[in-house]
């Protein structure tokens, strides 16, 4: 089902061709990072801390080095001093010192799984055996696992350099405080007929990509290094690794392998500098691959959080005030997405008066990394639950309540500037018109819930080249690792501009030496920003084609037109010429044609989604079954609708997993107890229904094709939608995630007790 405001008469865009990398991926030929092997290659393994918080008193590696087959061991002593400063890196702000401390612990370990040393050996098994021979002496410190503990007066301090300017420059675990405000909150609440105030807690969750982190490093004696790895951003791996290794950026080439999922988690570095360090020490290529347990213990989850929301509405359903306090677990180093969460939490609604305070808090957990619309899902769980409750108080249908308050073009964003054309209202209407919404949900312990979500989407830098080949076909080269089918979209955009069949365009993801700088595949930016670069590069090629045809026809370029994939001379009866016909004449008219473009893309179109969920609750066990689910999302323009739907379905599935069973479960010592897919419970095929999609196409005026990013926002509403559905099924408002059976059963039993008591009192 689709609703569209774009009327362009596209030939390729909007169709569903087979992706160009498809055959490689169904035959096992596609090369992911762990699939690379080189002659003489060694295998590396990483020693990790068993403690959540401890000082490292000593590390002895002699015994391990003596094990036959062990070639080298590195510790933080092998890393240069990195600077304590803040620096923009892709979507993130990074501090090189903290990044270095995360790659290999310096004098302190800060979470269960924190890397301490890395070994290179002739087989992964020998490297692993060597880890057991490394002796580390620890002074164990009390673990700081939650925001509450971290912010208590006298709490153990994680990072000695972290100071809080707001509290008299004292040592602190609070890395950052953000505040956003508008209007007069007090007056706003006075005008409200209903005020709801609740506290929410969400558990830390992982991106859960199926492919573990990997890297092969090759350091040459001339000081040049090459890294093969599965990453969302080869240029980021290059610059971050250069920082940590103290190497010039230009001395590192990063070859992005096929990538087995990332969802934000592969936008930073873990193994990459280690592979280079070990290669430098041994003179051989070194491959490191994380185990699943290492992935969960030591690679970027997203923050658990504590969020207090107070919102008020008038009885006719107008939101008038919001007061919000939110604190996110950053993990061991500063940098949770709480700032983004704060800007998202009421973004879908016009609220004249608000005050939002947001805190980034370090705790003894792995450093968080981006995860699909980072920070927004936690936030929406809180605000969309309150919205649901306010709608109920007002006696208004929850979709109508949202429609009454929904932002539209011209309304101010949380940070001030007005929205351009956006599609929230269309997603709400899309849900209202869906077969799912129109169907009746019957049966006991069943409920239907709805929620909406917002995500900024990103622009940033991208480069593209379009090469026209001697036979008139083309290749399109970008620096954006393809994580979910974007190569097909790049080829489709090229084909659309040049009037070629999509099969005549070969899309390539290039290494860092073969294409201009391109920021991460993240922020839903590839089809938007890299797509913009591709569009411009194809247009550049088109201009050159016109010039060449003009030369051939001995005309001026403005006497030649390019349309329908053909060059036309204006005026007299010269028959049109296809690219295929023109291509053989390239050598004699100036040489090969390469269209180029680099952009720092402006004109980002924010994404909105609305999700409708039906659930059934087992009243005796608290187990929730997802019966039906529909998501409506604004794609601006769906280049390849199948992969747009795929993004919507995938984000929704992750949101449903987040809602029901996913969580980091630490014991009181700060040890992660569920560092495997057995107990980190992501949805299986049997846990989900088909996920119905409503693709809204509210063209983004900031993009030549109307595209807005689609990769993230679908993860934002599901947690709240499930909570709202559970409420309608069993009358219980769940204020924490996951809404797992033990938690829901406890809440239901308590609710039953209280309703019994109130019934008795009546």
């Amino acid at each position: 089902m689709a609703a569209s405001t774009t009327t362009d008469n596209f030939k390729v865009i909007g169709t569903r061709p087979i992706r160009h990398d498809g055959v490689d991926k169904v035959t096992g030929r596609a090369k992911y990072g762990a699939d690379y092997a080189f002659p003489g290659m060694l295998h590396g393994k990483v020693l990790r801390s068993p403690h959540a918080h401890a000082n490292i008193k000593s590390i002895k590696i002699d015994k391990a080095l003596k094990l036959p087959g062990v070639k080298a061991i590195v510790t933080s002593k092998d890393l240069p001093q990195a600077e304590n400063k803040l620096e923009q890196s892709g979507e993130m702000v990074i501090n090189p010192m903290y990044l270095s401390m995360n790659i290999l612990a310096h004098d302190k370990v800060l979470y269960d799984g924190h890397a301490i040393a890395a070994v290179a050996a002739t087989s992964p098994h020998i490297a692993e055996e060597a880890l057991r021979l490394i002796e580390v002496e620890y002074e164990v410190l009390p673990p700081v696992m939650t925001v509450d503990v971290a912010t208590k007066p006298g709490a153990p301090i994680l990072l000695k350099d972290l100071r809080n300017k707001e509290e008299g420059d004292k040592q602190t675990n609070v890395a950052q405080h953000y505040q956003f405000k508008r209007g007069d909150v007090e007056a706003g609440f006075k005008a409200a007929d209903y005020v709801i105030e609740r506290e929410f807690n969400t558990a830390m969750v992982h991106q859960g990509y199926i492919e573990p982190h990997n890297a092969v490093g090759i350091y040459n004696s001339d000081g040049q290094a090459t890294i093969y790895c599965s990453t969302q951003g080869a240029f980021d791996v290059r610059s971050l690794s250069a920082q940590v290794l103290g190497m010039p950026v230009g001395h590192i080439k990063v070859v992005p392998a096929e990538i087995g999922g990332g969802f934000g988690g592969k936008t930073t570095i873990y193994l990459e500098p280690l592979s280079v360090l070990l290669s430098k020490k041994t003179g051989a290529p070194v491959k490191l691959v994380m185990s699943r347990s290492e992935v969960l213990r030591a690679s970027g989850p997203t923050s658990g959080s504590k969020i207090k929301v107070k919102m008020g509405a008038t009885k006719d359903g107008k939101l008038v005030a919001a007061e919000i306090w939110m604190a996110y677990e950053a993990g061991a180093f500063p940098g949770s997405p709480v700032g983004a969460g704060a800007m998202c939490i009421i973004a879908p609604y016009t609220v004249e008066n608000f005050l939002i305070d947001a805190y980034d808090v370090v705790v003894n957990r792995p450093k968080t990394a981006a995860y699909r619309a980072p920070g927004a899902t936690n936030a929406a769980f809180a605000s969309e639950t309150i919205i649901d409750e306010l709608a109920e108080k007002c006696g208004i249908d929850p979709i109508d309540f949202r429609l009454k308050n929904a932002v539209k073009e011209g309304d101010a964003q949380v940070v001030g500037p007005p929205f351009k054309r956006i599609g929230l209202i269309q997603t709400l209407e899309g849900i209202k018109n869906s077969p799912h919404y129109k169907s009746k949900l019957t049966g006991k312990f069943r409920g239907r819930g709805v929620a909406s979500g917002f995500w900024f989407n990103a622009g940033m830098q991208s480069s593209a080249t379009v090469n026209i080949h001697a036979d008139g076909t083309a290749s399109v080269v970008t620096g954006s690792p393809d994580i979910g089918g974007s190569r097909a979209s790049m080829a489709m955009i090229t084909a659309e501009v040049l009037g070629l069949p999509v099969t005549d365009v070969r899309p390539i993801t290039a290494d860092t030496d073969s294409i201009g700088h391109t920021d991460v595949t993240g922020g839903s930016r590839v089809t938007f920003a890299t797509g913009m670069a591709v569009y411009e590069a194809a247009k550049d090629a088109e201009r050159q084609l016109i010039e060449r045809a003009a030369k051939v026809w001995e005309k001026k370029p403005d006497e030649v037109e390019f349309r329908d994939g053909k060059l036309h001379a204006k005026g007299n009866g010269v028959p049109p010429m296809s690219i295929k016909q023109l291509a053989p004449r390239f050598p004699r008219t100036g040489g090969p044609i390469t269209g180029r473009a680099s952009v720092n893309a402006r004109g980002v179109g924010p994404g909105f989604a609305t999700t409708l969920v039906d659930v059934e609750v087992d009243p005796d066990t608290g187990k929730v079954q997802i019966l039906r689910c529909t998501v409506a999302q604004d794609a601006g323009k769906a280049i390849h609708p199948s992969y747009v739907e795929g993004q919507m379905q995938g984000g929704t599935a992750q949101g449903l997993g987040w809602a029901l069973n996913e969580e980091y479960f630490y014991d009181d010592k700060g040890t992660l107890r569920n560092s495997g897919f057995l107990d980190y419970r992501m949805p299986t095929c049997l846990d989900l229904p088909m996920i119905e999609t409503v693709v809204i196409e509210e063209a983004n005026p900031g993009h030549p094709l109307g595209v807005r990013g689609v990769g993230e926002v679908s993860i934002v509403p599901p947690v709240a939608a499930v909570a709202n559905a559970i409420y309608r099924a069993v009358g219980v408002r769940m204020l924490e995630t996951p809404m797992s059976p033990p938690k829901l059963l406890k809440a239901m039993l308590k609710h039953r007790d209280s309703t019994k008591h109130s019934a008795a009192a009546d």
Partner: protein, 289 residues
Amino acid sequence: MHAINYEAPSSLDQAVSILKTHGENARPFCGGTDILIQLRAGVRRTEHLVDVKKIKELQTLSFDAKKGLRLGAAVPCIEISDSDVMRKHYPGLREAAHLIGSLQIQNRASVGGNLCNGSPAADTTPALIALGARARIVGPAGEREVPVEDFVVSPGRTVLKPGELLVELLIPAPAPHSSDAYLRFIPRNEMDIAVVGVGASVTLDGDKVKAARIALGAVAATPLLAGKAAEALVGKKLDDAALEAAGHAASAICKPIDDMRGTIDFRVHVTGVLTRRALTIAAERAKKN
């Protein structure tokens, strides 16, 4: 993983002899779905894996209406869940085998391996206990039989001594008007370890219970036989009150832990729920037999 030796004997005698030679340092190896994970994680250490899948006695699945079922310790779960004999006579045990892991796991894992792994949460163990199964063990000192409820002694430890091997499980022939059921609670619909598992068998005499057995998994250090909960049903109609009482009695013997799979309160509560449900299903089936 540390270095290991692998042998795949084709006879029981050979297997026992290899196991005896290496003593504590050897372990029978069947589907590998638990032990390889444990060896890699370093929670078990063994130098010699003795693959028992080629031994005929361990691959037998045979049913006799009088003598009952002989279930070789290495018979893969998939064979059990595909078996019409199992479907007809031991549907509860079949369900338990069918619930273990994915199809990929069921193609490798065996009921014997599930038992020898010694996990309190093993799915098939409560189902076996409910049926009154006995484990036939062969070792350097000869043969012995152990009731399945006595087989696991603590998490990961069993009655098997160095050199001993579980050969088969002996399950009595079902009495007239009897049947069994196994239910487990997991947060997802597949791929989880039981948070609570309940096996029940019921023999009816008209509308009254003639005999019953209830066994619990994942609610104590070992699988439990809930003797009192079952005995109290004998001679009674399986009505709501009787089910409620059985559920309470089963909950009462639970000594679970709080962990990433569930809380103590949750496990105790759900034990009651599943006990009632499993008994109901077993009784429904028994009526038809």
